[in-house]
C-alpha cells in the first residue's frame, strides 16, 4: 500500500483539506474507487475504510495481480464531513456538480479537476454514491446511458440489480459522466444508508467490489459468487407518491414483494393521530426504494416499485 496526498486545499484557519489516495499494486491503471464526495456520505466513507483494510491484507498476501494498480480515495470533502455539511462548506457548492473541473476557478472546481486528473485513465471507476432525498434502496449498481455504458460488466458486481438511466442535464457535471466520456467504465454503487453506518450493506458493498475486481483479474479473492443481476431502466420503476402529508409509517421494506391493492404506507394526522390515508400499491412487484423520514409531505415519492417482478 502506498498512501499519498493527491491534492490539498489551503484553508484560512483550518488545517489543509488533504485529499488522500491509497494505491495497491503497481502497473496498469486497473480500478479506481471513490468514497464520500459529499460531507454527509458517512456510509460511503465507511465502506472505503473497510475496503482499504481488506486490500491492505490482500496485498500483504500477494493477492493483487501482477501489473495492476488500484487507487482508493476515501473522500474529497473532509471539510464537509467535519462540519456535517453535504456540500463543500466554502460557498456551499456540491463538488459532484463541478466535473470535469477547472484549475483556474473556485476551490470546488479545482478539487474536481485535481481529482479527475488523478482518477482518469483507469479501466474501471467505482463511486459510492447517495441520493438527495431520504430513503433506502435495494443495494444496486447504477449506470448512465451515455453510449459508453456496459450493463454486462455491471452485472459482475453480483448485486441483485443494475439500474441504467438516461443522463439529465445536471448529470453532465458529475464524476461518473466525466469518467464515461473519457473512456473509463464507470459505476455508482448505492447501499441502503448515507448519514448512518449500516454494517450489513457496507459488507455487501465491499464484497461486491472485491468480486468485481476478482472477475476482472485485478485481485485474487474467494467469495460468494453473488447474484445474476436484473437490469432495469430507471423509468421502468413505478413511483408511488403520497397525496397527503403528516406522520409517515412505512409498511414495506426495500426488497419486499407487494401485490396490487396492498396497503404499503399510512399517513396519520400530525396533531390528532388518526390515520388520514392508507396508500395502496398500484401494481404487483418488488419494492426498490422506500422513503425513510418519520414525516412526509404531499407529492413526495415514497416508494419506487419494480413492476411485475416476483421474488
Amino acid at each position: 500500500m502506498h498512501k499519498e496526498v493527491l491534492f490539498s486545499v489551503e484553508g484560512l484557519y483550518r488545517e489543509d483539506n488533504e485529499i488522500t489516495g491509497y494505491r495497491f499494486g503497481h502497473g496498469e491503471k486497473a480500478a479506481c474507487i471513490i468514497g464520500a464526495m459529499r460531507g454527509n456520505e458517512l456510509q460511503q466513507l465507511y465502506i472505503c475504510s473497510q475496503l482499504i483494510r481488506t486490500l491492505k491484507t490482500l496485498e500483504e498476501h500477494g493477492a493483487i495481480s501482477h501489473n495492476k494498480e488500484i487507487l482508493v480515495v476515501p473522500t474529497v470533502n473532509m471539510y464537509g464531513i467535519n462540519v456535517e455539511k453535504r456540500f463543500w462548506p466554502i460557498d456551499n457548492v456540491d463538488i459532484n456538480r463541478c466535473f470535469p473541473g477547472d484549475m483556474n476557478a473556485d476551490s470546488p472546481k479545482r478539487i474536481a479537476k485535481a481529482l479527475f486528473d488523478s482518477v482518469q485513465g483507469y479501466s474501471y471507476g467505482i463511486q459510492f454514491a447517495s441520493f438527495y432525498m431520504p430513503g433506502d434502496f435495494i443495494p444496486h449498481v447504477r449506470m448512465m446511458e451515455t453510449g459508453f455504458q456496459s450493463p454486462s460488466l455491471a452485472n459482475l458486481f453480483g448485486l441483485q440489480y443494475v439500474v441504467t438511466r438516461k443522463p439529465k442535464p445536471m448529470d453532465t457535471v458529475t464524476l461518473n459522466y466525466s469518467w464515461q466520456m473519457n473512456g473509463t467504465n464507470a459505476f455508482s454503487i448505492y447501499t441502503n444508508a448515507t448519514d448512518t453506518v449500516d454494517e450489513k450493506s457496507a459488507r455487501q458493498a465491499v464484497s461486491a467490489v472485491l468480486r468485481f475486481l476478482t472477475r476482472m483479474g485485478i485481485v485474487k479473492y474467494n467469495n460468494h459468487s453473488g447474484y445474476i443481476a436484473s437490469v432495469i431502466e430507471e423509468h421502468e420503476l413505478m413511483p408511488v407518491k403520497s397525496d397527503t402529508a403528516g406522520f409517515y409509517k412505512r409498511l414495506k421494506e426495500p426488497g419486499d414483494p407487494v401485490y396490487h391493492g396492498d396497503v404499503i404506507a399510512q399517513v396519520t394526522d400530525p396533531y390528532e393521530g388518526e390515520i388520514i390515508k392508507e396508500i395502496k400499491s398500484p401494481t404487483d412487484g418488488i419494492i426498490f426504494f422506500a422513503h425513510t423520514a418519520p414525516m412526509v409531505m404531499e407529492n413526495a415519492v415514497i416508494y419506487k416499485i419494480i413492476r411485475r417482478m416476483h421474488e
Binding site: 486545499v9 466554502i90 456538480r97 432525498m133 442535464p169 397527503t244 403528516g246
Partner: protein
C-alpha cells in the same frame, strides 16, 4: 361544525369584501400551485395577475418571475414596485402582467438559496415533471402557468458571495431573439455566454425552448436589497412593457448597455487563501489598467498576500462580497473593450 360567532361573521365579511375588491380592482392574487407540508401548512406559489379593464384576451402578456433562489431579494422589491405603479395607474395598463414573486418561499424564509430540506437548487429542475417529487412538480406547474406569455423576465440577485452590477445574461443559442429586449432593459451590461448542458435545467432555458422568450437579469448581492439597482431595473421593465404595448405611461430614460460581444471578459481568481478587501467604493464601475481592485490579506501575520490589479481598461461588473476566500475564488470580472 359550530354556530357562527361574531368573529366568524367579521372574518367572512372581510373575506367577501376582499374578494369584491379583488374583482373590481386590476389585480387578482392566485395560487399557482400548492404542496402540503408534514404539519398543517402548505407551500404556496402565488402570482398576482393584472389585466386592463375590458380586456379582450388578445393583449400582450409579460410574466415577471423571481425568488427561484431563496437568498435573492432584489426581485422582491422589484415586484412590489412594479405592482405598486400598476395599481396607482390602472388606466395606463393595456396588456397582461403576471407577477410571480417567489418560486422558493421556504428558502427565502430561511435565507437559503435552495429548497431547505434537500439543499436542492430549484434552477436545476426545470422544466420539471408533473409526476415528479415536490421540486419537479412545482417547477412543472410554474412553467405551465407561464406558457403563453409574450415575454418572461427572471430576476436574480447573484448570491451572498459575489456582487453583480445590473446585467442581462443570455445564452448564445437564443441571442437573436433576446438581444433586442436585453438592449432596452436599462442594464449596465449584457452578457452573452456560450451554452453548457447543465444550464438546460434552468427556468430561462426551458421557457426559451418552449417558445417563451425569457431574459435573466442579475444584480446586487444575496440577502440584501440594492435600491439603486432595483430602480434601474424597474425602469427597464416599464420600458419593455411600453415596447410590448402593455403600458401607456411615460417612457423612462434608459441607458445603452455595454455588450459582452464587443469586448472580452477577464476573470480574476485568488492565488491564496485569505481575506479579500476591496479597494473599490460602494459601486463597481470603470477602472484603468493597473489600478487596484483590492488586496488579499493575511489577518494572522499582517501581510498582503496578493494585490489584485485590473488587467485592462474596462469595467468591473462582478466583485467578491464575502471576504473569506480560498485559492481559486473568483474575485472580480472585468470587461474590456477589444
Amino acid at each position: 361544525m359550530s354556530f357562527p360567532t361574531i368573529a366568524h361573521c367579521i372574518k367572512s365579511y372581510t373575506m367577501i369584501r376582499y374578494n369584491y375588491l379583488c374583482i373590481n380592482e386590476v389585480d387578482m392574487i392566485n395560487e399557482v400551485v400548492s404542496v402540503k407540508m408534514p404539519v398543517k401548512e402548505k407551500i404556496r406559489i402565488l402570482k398576482n395577475h393584472f389585466e386592463p379593464e375590458n380586456a379582450t384576451g388578445r393583449e400582450a402578456r409579460l410574466s415577471l418571475v423571481t425568488g427561484i433562489h431563496g437568498d435573492e431579494l432584489d426581485g422582491q422589491y422589484v415586484c412590489y414596485e412594479v405592482i405598486r405603479q400598476i395599481k396607482a395607474h390602472p388606466e395606463l395598463l393595456t396588456g397582461t402582467v403576471d407577477v410571480y414573486p417567489c418560486i422558493n418561499p421556504l428558502g427565502m424564509d430561511m435565507g437559503a438559496r435552495g429548497i431547505p430540506m434537500f439543499d436542492l437548487d430549484m434552477n436545476r429542475v426545470f422544466p420539471g415533471d408533473n409526476n415528479g417529487a415536490m421540486a419537479e412538480y412545482v417547477a412543472a406547474e410554474v412553467v405551465n402557468d407561464i406558457i403563453g406569455s409574450d415575454l418572461c423576465i427572471d430576476v436574480h440577485s447573484s448570491n451572498v458571495y459575489i456582487k453583480e452590477a445590473p446585467q442581462v445574461r443570455l445564452n448564445e443559442d437564443c441571442a437573436d431573439k433576446l438581444l433586442p429586449y436585453a438592449k432596452i432593459m436599462n442594464a449596465d451590461f449584457v452578457w452573452v455566454y456560450s451554452s453548457i448542458t447543465v444550464r438546460e435545467a434552468t427556468l430561462a432555458y426551458s421557457l426559451n425552448k418552449l417558445g417563451v422568450p425569457t431574459l435573466v437579469t442579475e444584480m446586487g448581492v444575496g440577502l440584501r436589497i440594492n435600491n439603486a439597482y432595483c430602480r434601474q431595473l424597474i425602469d427597464g421593465i416599464f420600458n419593455i412593457m411600453i415596447e410590448l404595448g402593455i403600458w401607456q405611461g411615460e417612457r423612462p430614460a434608459v441607458k445603452e448597455p455595454i455588450m459582452s460581444t464587443e469586448g472580452q471578459v477577464d476573470f480574476i481568481h485568488a492565488e491564496h487563501a485569505g481575506l479579500f478587501v476591496s479597494a473599490l467604493g460602494e459601486q463597481m464601475g470603470h477602472i484603468k489598467k493597473g489600478e487596484r481592485i483590492g488586496d488579499i490579506i493575511s489577518p494572522v501575520d499582517g501581510e498582503i498576500l496578493q494585490e489584485i490589479i485590473s488587467p485592462a481598461d474596462g469595467i468591473v461588473f462582478s466583485l467578491r462580497e464575502n471576504p473569506v476566500i480560498y485559492k481559486g475564488t473568483l474575485l472580480a470580472r472585468v470587461y474590456a473593450v477589444r
